[in-house]
Structure formats: structure tokens, C-alpha cells
Symmetry: D2
Subunit: 379 residues, 4 copies
């Protein structure tokens, strides 16, 4: 793979590299790690890459790789830049024959997402999106239990993503991660809701198997001088009648990355916390709650396939992230082998998830501007 | 005290009696335990009451007690009947010189609550309301920490009360507790929101010290044939700018009484779960989370006064409930002693809480009927 | 009942009074609350007792009550004094026709316990012991699950009772609770092991249904100048081949009353923590762990009978304590009614538990003196 | 690196490979993955190794690599075979100029460990041991807090490692992992105590900074027909006067890998659970317990250096394992750079840990044979 972004000092680039390398199936072969060519080269050297494959821009990289013999090219690009720089490299890569694995949200706005969906379709190539929380084994177990009907028809979903790191205006003092996330020119129409609300939305739809049909959102910017929302509370209605609540926050002081979800059906309920991701609580009306744990034999095949270690050897964020890469690589391999990937191999977020995420952001922002009026999430 | 309701087979009557007796300050001296005089007498006999103080109705009881010498009368009545029977005995008791301690919600509807507030005021007597969750030591600690400014200005409140026991239509098969709670004639305009949503509202206002100014609510009746809501999701706005989410449910399968609250200020955050009530999580931006526990010396005087045992001898629901009675009795005693009760002695929910609770119910129902339009909570 | 000890300033007296009163079946009618008659009277007045039933000593009380008409006497005495004062009032009460409910350990030493067992037997009266932790609903559930064979033959028991409150020499600065517990003249041959180790021993035998046959103990006094052990680690062997570990400590800084137990059989395992007493973890080899919770319908009758509130209305220490009193009262009532008490009514610790507890203390002390040599626990 | 063992079907080989690769600093260049040359080659092909570096035995590998130009050789070998095959390849590698990173325990018995220590010393090369649990960020934090004196002088250590997977005789039905671990010819003198008891011992000494001076152990084989212990309870005495308990079990039904440790000093206490490794509980006598979490700024440099992701992106077993490899690689690099490694770079278990682990195993076995007589742990 070739990487766009993720040079020295970046946070998410290192996560992507570890995730990509974890299963020994993907090799980082080139990169445009920085818009500064010198920095890109230095970063590449950190990763033991030859200088001629450390490019000064994604354009150079795509052109340079395309010029190489087919067997010596990168197979796909991984995009790990801020939001406004997701679409351009994705578009160019797809138009030049390279698969794309992109950080989320898919694009800067919904219009770009729609355009990208068209390009993906036309290209016939693969597009993956790192909604990484869906990579956890017990998130997969949760989805399988809903799918199997064990919980009955789903009635209610509560999903939350509180963080506290933006409780003060740290973007004003040069914190790089905060700076771009609170800048409408780089982050998009939403702050908190785009950065982490989309993870909550994606997780809710992934596990419940339901689509949000409409929502009513109340966004707030608590920190003075900030240009984008840092907190949002959203009422949800799903197709088929389920109801829900989604709230995300970056001013919930003392919270780390407390992505949590509860799903209740007519027959049973589920609860999962990212903070302790190897535990899934399963609730029944007349029986004791059950505590499902990663890697145990009673799990579904999809959940078992997502684990790498025996029970109670805790698996974490990087392993979940790596599961996106693993599935993406397995799907590319299936193509090479001219066969259809299995359901497990193709279980990674795709452009449809990207489209829904961008539609969610726009619907939330639109609703909030109309004082939390119900707004359709239309893709 | 004299009890209205709570005869054989009732659930909450026993809770009130244990709570009242816990500190050896209150004696059950009479009761109108049932609308069936025979049943009332039999119930009274269970409590070792003389037959002549087991009345056939609250009217008889109030008249009968009034007719006794002042030193041999009950001091107050405890009302533990379904909602539609809260106002009439409260009114009559107050108009005949008896203090009143009532189960919540205060009345059947807001109009009654307003009338009752007038009667309380006019009578000069005491009125208490068993929003019992505010009786927990660590709920008091949470309130004190907010009050002291330790958390800074409050920005966000998340309060939840999921239950699962009404996930099917058990009211149709004669479950007594379910029957009246789902019956608009006995429960009032709301089901779930009146029964437990009001507890969540009261807890949020008690701890945060803030008043809800307006709300947007989406109520649902998931169980076919049920006449009142069994699930509700509410966006909150507080006076002063804080935002919040409140959700309550009686169809969240497998949930017991998971009343939970999180409060975030500019400087710190709090988290409390009724399920594990002797633990209060206190969160800071740059320091490890702290785990406050009941009965430890570092707690505020109000929290310490609300405990009865040493640290980690878990205190539960009955002790919290008893704290309402204890404070109510202490305030009556202060009257006898012709002194002002201390802040701790007078720390029990009053008619103002009752008014706000009824206003909350009506605002939620009104908002939901208007498709979650923002609705003022006006008292 | 009449109380021996427990006057103003005592800790455990108040616990006993609340526990006794909780179910409205027991009335405190007299007491010898202090060895100081004036203090005894003042304490009695706090409890609304007439002056003539506030005695200056237990001897006076037993004589005074015996002199009253049979229908106006106390039924039993509750002993809530330090350990050295358990045996004398118990003996005198039994010899004068009164049942006895005593705080633990039963006596000052094993010889007294053996004598007391003889007196109990001879008297034909009831003797109860407040090993209160066995009063928790889920402790009863644990025992029932072992009894039923659901866990298979028991192999291993781990029981722990760490506290931290004696990590420094607070007895030197006048802390009353610490003073007598660390004084060999009032506490007996052991400190920590007598005070809380016996609770651990009793709980382990109660739940497992097994008897400790021999043990190897390593006691330590960490705090300089202290006369009794403040920490103990014990290897256990049970009749039938099970093994175990028991450790108790009063110098485990920051621990409250963390009584914990784990029991493993051939087919399943159990885990319970007093800190969160309404949760029982049940473990299976090939199935998810189950979380049993107080008051749910799936519990055994014994566990259900031990609860007073609906699920997830947490029950605590006082309720568990009250269950000892409740069973004791029910057994007295059964006597009055000339019938055999049911298994649930007679489920309270008896003199046999007292004997085993005292034998445990002596075995631990003896083993430790012999450098942890294996020592029989012989009753 | 070159790998000894860890071919297709092995469990721990994959763990080592992921751990080694995680930080992009170590490349798997060759291996003797199986004693079956064909299987070794096939395994190597899975890892994209050229056929000529997939050796049929460790002897061939060491010889083959030594024959290559210095710049094209492996730097070190990773040994991931059963216990009886740890010493021979370690010895040969060291004697031929290669560093060694070995799975634990270091050797088959103490005599081998002593011999190995001599060889390491003589060789001047590096030897690392994957006591991987010491790689967790919060284990490092715990050690740092002890070291800093924040907890005061250590008094008590409780360390436990219960598992349940050997509760029945699965070794009889061909389970490969169980087969060698319960075979005295491949596992050594101890079963459970060697396999996981050593991890507990190592963790206790690592965090407390204390050495076990003597111990009294009671080992049991609960499963009929098994040749080695499957459960062990051990009393510990540390140099300097601290006391402790260590218990490990493989028949604790329903337990996964519940390695837990509690350490109490005169001023504070610590508690850590592998099951939830990103949480460290820190206890104080007069202040609320604190919850330290991985990756937060308040941690010590050693703990921060051991993390790879932001707070509450859970890090797991593989990351902890990788920290051993990371430190080992950093120390090799420091050698290349002719400088002394930093304390953080050299923070990986070494031959001294291996010696102590083997001495622990032999002391436990010897003590148990003498009915839990106190036995010195002598290195």
C-alpha cells in the first residue's frame, strides 16, 4: 500500500501503519506522507522506505506508482489526511486504477461523497472506510445476534460518544489535532458530530441493521470562539419504527473515548462499551444477563474470525482497526484469485457507509439550524 | 404516622413502612390501607395496629384521628396509593391540620398540583414527596460538589432510566403494578414518563441545581394495545445554557431500574448509577478519575449525614428512601422544638418538586403530540 | 428484645437496632446499653424506652425482665458488646429462659464456646449469631446453587476480607472501635483474624457447604506496637479434598470492607463481592458468564425470601443484617405456634457456627505460631 | 529476526510475529518453524519468506544464518517452542553470536537456567524473556509508583492467575496446547505453576520491586490422570518483611486469563487486572480511589512510552507483548549505535528474571512435596 498523509507527528498515520502491518498481509511500499517533500522523505526513511518511493504529493505518488511495472506497484492507497483532503486523492487513485482505503468521514461534504460513490462504481475498484469500531470482535457478535433474530424486532438504540479533550479552546494554543478538527475549512460543516458522531451513527446502523430515517438534533458550541459544534444531542427514528438517542460530545470533561451502545429488541438487549471492548452484555427478560467475551467458542464465526488471541487476552483498538485492513486485503486477494470474497472477508465499511455518514452530518447540521426540526437522512 | 394505601399485596407500602421505621423516629399508628375496610383491618393487624385505628377510608382516618386528643393523634399521613388518589387525601389532610408525605408524582395532573401548592401554602403545614433517589448519600455528594463550584459551570446533563418489565403487555394478564401504571385513569397523561421519567427529571435538577427551561420529546408506545407511552426520548435545555438528554423506558428488555446520571461542568464531571449507588465517579480533565464511596470521611456533611454504616457496608434503596422520612421527621421535630430545621434536616423533596414534576409530564406529553416541538416547562 | 451494649456512640448497636426493627416483627423493649447506668438510661431514652426498662447491667436486665409477667417480658437478648463480654450475658440469659442473639465471634475463646454450646443445648433455647454476610440474598443463592449440584463437586474456594482502616496505629489515639479490637483482653487471641477472618471462614463454609479440615496460617502484625495480628494469609484444605485460600487484612490501605468469595466446582464457578452485593457472577466452561441479580424471578426461593424490594433497587448491609433477625424472629414465632420452622425461617447462624468460628481462630493462631504448620480445625 | 517454532497451527508463534512486527522495527527474515522441514517451509511461505531461509531445524538456521554476510543475517532468534526446547536453541544461538528472545519459562529446569545465565554472561549478547504482562503500560505505571515511594514501604502483595481451560482432561483428546503443558517431559516439573504461576511471580516482583525470599506451597492435581499440578496456593514472604499470597489455577471453571495483582504499602495501594488492562486502581487511606488509565498525561514516562494510542483506545495483549520486542530491538539498536540504552529501552525481562522464575518453580514444587514447608527461593 501507499500512504497519503501520516508523516512524522501525525497521530492516525501510525495507527493505520500498525493496523495494516498486523497480519503480515500488507506492506507499506510508498507514501506521500506530507505536503512538504522533505518531510515526506524523512518520514518514509523512518519506515525504511527507499527515497524514490517517498513522494512529495499524492499526485506524484499515483503517477509514479502507475509508471512502475504492474507487479511492482502499490495495490491501494491509504488516505489518512484531514477531512478536506479525503476526496481528491481518493478520486485520483480510483481513476488511475488503485483501490482506496480512507479514513472517515469519507469526504468533506455530502456532494463530494455522492460524486465519489459514482467514481467508485465506475472504476469497479474497491473502496474501504475506517469506521474502525466495527472491527471489534464483539461488535460483530452484537450484529450477528441482531441478525439472527435472537433479540427480536429492534425497538430502541442508545448510542453515545462522549469525549472531554476539547473542553477548553486548545486549538488556540496550537494543538494540531484540535486545530483542524475545529476548522470548518478542513473539518467540514460539523465538528464533534463529524469527528465522532459519525462513528456513533455508523456503529448504531452496523449493529442494529437498521437505517436512521430521520433525526432531530440540538448542536451546541460551548467553548467560546470555537467555530464548530463541540456537543450534540440527537433524537433518532429508524426505518421500521425503532427509536433512538445519539449524543456525542467533546466537552464532557474527563471522558476519554467512551463510545457506548445499547440496543433493545422485543426479546433481548445488548450493551457494549469501547472502553472495555472485549465484553458484550446480553440481556434477557427472565434470565440472568450474560457476559460474552472475545475469543470464546460460543461466539459467532464472524466474531471469532475477528480475534487474534485466546479468551481474556484483551484485544484493543489496534486489533479492531487492523480488522478493517485485514478484510480489505482479503478482498483484494480474492480479486487476484478471481473469486468472490466470503462474507467475513468483505466485512469492512464501504462507500455506502461513507455516503450515509455524510448524509448524517448534513442532516444533523440542517436540523440543528432549524431548532431541532425533524430532518430526513436521505442518501 | 397514618398510612393511606399500602395494604396487603401492595409493593410500595412496605417500602414506606420500612423506610419510616428505620431510624426509630416514626411510628405507624394508624392507616387506611385499603378501600375495602375488611382488608384495611387485616393489613393493620399485620402491623400490630389496634383495630380502631385501621380505618376504612382516608376520610374516616383523617376524621377519626382529628377526633383524638392532640397528643394521641398521628402527626402526618403517608400517601402510597396510585397517582389519581394522591391529591384527595393530601388536600383533606392538610385542610385538617396534618402534614403530608406523598408518593410521587405529586398529583394526577398539573392543575391538581397547582391547587395542592396553594393548599400547602395556606395550611402552613409540611408537604414531602418521595423522590427517593435523592436520598442516596452520593447523590447528595454530587449535588454538593456542583454547588461548591468544584465542577465549574454546568454544561451538560445526561440522565436515563431504562427498565424492561413492561416489554410485553403484562397489564393484560392482571399484573397489578402494571395495570394501574398503564391506565390513563389512574396513572395520568403519561405512562413511563410519569412513573420513572419524573424521577430522572427530579434527579437531574437536584444534582445540577439547574432548572429545565424547555424540552423536545419523542414518546412511543411500543407494546400494542397499551394506552400510555412506554418509552420516551427527550432533549433538554436548562436555564443558563446547559443542554441535556433524558431518556426513560419500560421496554428496554433486561434492564432493572438503571437510573443513571452524568453531569459535566467546565472543570469536572460526575457519574452515578443507582444500580451501584455507593459509588460516585468524579472526572477531571488532567487527573485520574476519582471513585467516591459512601461513608468516607472525605465526603460533604450532607452526604455523611445520609449514611448509617461504615464505608463499604453497602447502603441501598431502603436507606435512601428512609432518608426522606428521616428529614421529614426531623423537620416536624424542629417545629415542635420551635426552631428552624437545619439545611440537612430540611433536605427532602417538597411541593415545588411536585409542581415541577407535573409540569415536566405535561410538557413532555405536549411536545410529543407536536412531533417533538420545543415546549416550555412552566411552573 | 433487650439489648446488651450498643449505647450512645457505639457503632454496631445502631446496626442491630435498625436490623431488628426492619420488618416490624421485633420491638426493642429494654436494654442494658452501657456499664454506666446513667449512660444506659440516656441511651434508652433516645430509643423512647421507659426508664424502668433501661437497666444498669445485663444482670439487672435479665433479673428485671424475668420478674415481669411472662407476656410482658422481652423474648430474647441481643448482645452487641466487645468479644470478652459475649459469653457472660449469653450464659445468664439462657440459664434464665431467654433466647440469645449475639454478635460474633461467639465468645472470647474456644473453651467458652464449647461451654456455651453445652448451655444452649441444655436450655433448649435458641441461639443466633450475626454472621450477617450470610444474610445477603445472593449469598443464599450461591449456597443454593452449590447445594443443587449445579457447580459439580467443589474444588477450590478463594475468600478474602481486606480492610485498610488499621494501617496506622489509630488505637493509640483513642479510636474506640480500634481500641478494643486490638486489645487481647477484649478481642481474644486474634485481631484481624478474629474480627473479620471469621466472617470469611463462615462465608466460605456457608456457601460451599464444606468444612475446613486443616489450615496453614501466616499472621503478621505490621503496625509497630500493636499486640494482635493485623494481617493473615491462610492455606485451606476442606473435607472431601477441596483446597482454598483465605486472606484477611486490616492494613490493606484504601480497602473498605472488601469481603469477596470465589468458589469453583467441576462444572461451574461463582463469584460474589460484598461491595456490590446484589450481583452474583456465575461462570461456566463453555457458556458466557451469567450475572445473577437480587430479586429476580429466576432466583431460588431462599434468595427471593431474603429480598425486600424489586430488582435493581439495591439492598445493602442493613437488609442482610436484618435477615438474621427476621429468621430468628420467625423461629421464635414458630415456637410460639408450636410448629417446626421452615428451612428459610431457620436459616440463621447458630452455635455450631460459633463453635467453628472459635475453632478457626484458635487453629489459625496455633498454626501461625508454628510457622504455618498444618493445623486441624477441630470442633 | 529468525524464529524457532511457531509454524502453522501454533498459537504463540503468531503472537510473537505480530508483536515483533508491530512497530516496524523488526523484520522476520528466517525461521525453523517446525521440526518437520516441509512444514517449516510451508509456514515460512505463509509469511512470504524465501524458501532458502525456511530451515528444517534451529541448528540449520543458526548455521545457515552465520554463513551469510554479516549485514544480511538475522540479528536475533525468537524461541517459541515448548519449554523443553528453550535451552538448546538459546545456547547454540548465543554461542554463535546471535541475541536471543525466548518465550517463558527460560528453560526446562533450574540447572539449565543457571547454565544459560553463564552462557549469556560469557557471550556478552542480549537475552530477553517474554514475561509479556510486564509490557502493559499500567503495569509499568504501577512499578513506577512503588519505586517513587508514593505507596510507602510495601507490606502485602496478592497475585492471582486463575484459568479454567484445563478443568477437564482435554489433553487426553488431543488438544495440542494442553498436551505439552501437562506433559512432564515437555513442560518441566510443574504444570500450572510453571505455565502461569511464573507469570504471577514475575509480575509481583516486577511491580513491587521486592524479591520473594521463601514460600509455602500447596499444589494439587484435581483432574484424574493428569501428571502435573493444575492448581496451586502459595504463601509468600518477601525480603524486607512484606507478605503475600499467590494462587494460580487451571481448573477454575469459567475463568479466562484473570491475572490480577494487588499491592499495599504503608501509604497507598494498587490493583490491576489483566482482563481490563488499561485501568489501574490506586487507593489511599483518606482520599477517594483513583482510576489511572493508559495514555493519559499524568502517567510516568515509562508508562507513556509503553502506549501507542490516545486515552481510552484500549491497548491489549498484543501491544503489551510488542513492548518486550520493542525494548529488545531498541537495545540492539543502541548497541549498533554504540551507546547505552535508556532505562525505558532496556526495560524488558532478562536472564535474571528467567533464573528467578525457574527457582520459583523448583521451590514451589519442593515445598509442596514437603506438605507446604517453607522453602527458600534461592538463585
Amino acid at each position: 500500500m501507499g500512504m497519503v498523509g501520516g508523516g512524522r507527528g501525525a497521530f492516525i498515520g501510525a495507527v493505520h501503519r500498525i493496523a495494516a502491518a498486523m497480519d503480515g498481509q500488507i506492506e507499506l511500499v510508498c507514501g506521500a506522507f506530507s505536503s512538504d517533500p522533505q518531510r515526506s522523505r524523512e518520514s518514509g526513511a523512518d519506515f525504511f522506505l527507499p527515497a524514490d518511493r517517498c513522494y512529495g504529493s499524492y499526485q506524484e505518488m499515483i503517477a509514479g506508482e502507475k509508471a512502475r511495472p504492474a507487479s511492482e506497484r502499490m495495490d491501494f492507497i491509504a488516505i489518512v489526511t484531514p477531512n478536506h483532503m479525503h476526496f481528491p486523492p481518493a478520486k485520483m487513485a480510483l481513476e488511475n486504477g488503485f483501490h482506496v482505503l480512507s479514513d472517515k468521514p469519507a469526504t468533506f461534504n455530502f456532494a463530494e461523497a455522492r460524486a465519489l460513490a459514482g467514481i467508485v462504481k465506475k472504476s469497479g475498484l474497491l473502496y474501504g472506510l475506517t469506521h474502525n469500531y466495527t472491527g471489534y470482535p464483539l461488535v460483530k457478535q452484537a450484529r450477528e445476534m441482531v441478525r439472527s433474530g435472537a433479540l427480536g424486532k429492534i425497538r430502541k438504540v442508545v448510542v453515545e460518544y462522549p469525549q472531554g479533550w476539547l473542553a477548553t479552546r486548545i486549538e488556540a494554543s496550537g494543538q494540531k489535532q484540535a486545530a483542524w478538527r475545529t476548522d470548518p475549512k478542513r473539518s467540514g460543516a460539523a465538528g464533534c458530530i463529524g469527528d465522532i458522531g459519525t462513528h456513533a451513527e455508523n456503529l448504531a446502523e452496523y449493529i442494529s441493521g437498521l437505517q436512521i430515517s430521520e433525526l432531530a438534533a440540538d448542536l451546541t458550541t460551548f467553548v467560546k470562539g470555537r467555530k464548530l459544534d463541540d456537543d450534540g444531542n440527537v433524537l433518532l427514528r429508524f426505518k421500521g419504527g425503532a427509536k433512538g438517542v445519539l449524543h456525542a460530545s467533546q466537552i464532557s470533561v474527563g471522558e476519554e473515548n467512551n463510545l457506548n451502545i445499547r440496543v433493545y429488541g422485543e426479546k433481548g438487549g445488548l450493551e457494549w462499551h469501547q472502553r472495555e471492548p472485549n465484553t458484550l452484555l446480553v440481556k434477557w427478560p427472565d434470565q440472568p444477563m450474560q457476559v460474552y467475551r472475545t475469543a470464546n467458542g460460543y461466539l459467532s464465526p464472524a466474531a471469532l474470525a475477528a480475534g487474534r488471541t485466546p479468551p481474556s487476552h484483551p484485544e484493543g483498538y489496534l486489533e479492531a482497526f487492523a480488522n478493517i485492513y485485514k478484510a480489505f486485503a482479503a478482498t483484494i486477494r480474492a480479486r487476484h484469485e478471481k473469486r468472490k470474497p466470503t462474507a467475513i472477508e468483505s466485512d469492512y465499511p464501504k462507500i455506502t457507509d461513507g455516503l450515509r455518514g455524510m448524509a448524517f452530518i448534513e442532516a444533523v447540521v440542517a436540523s440543528s439550524k432549524k431548532n431541532a426540526a425533524w430532518t430526513k437522512l436521505a442518501v
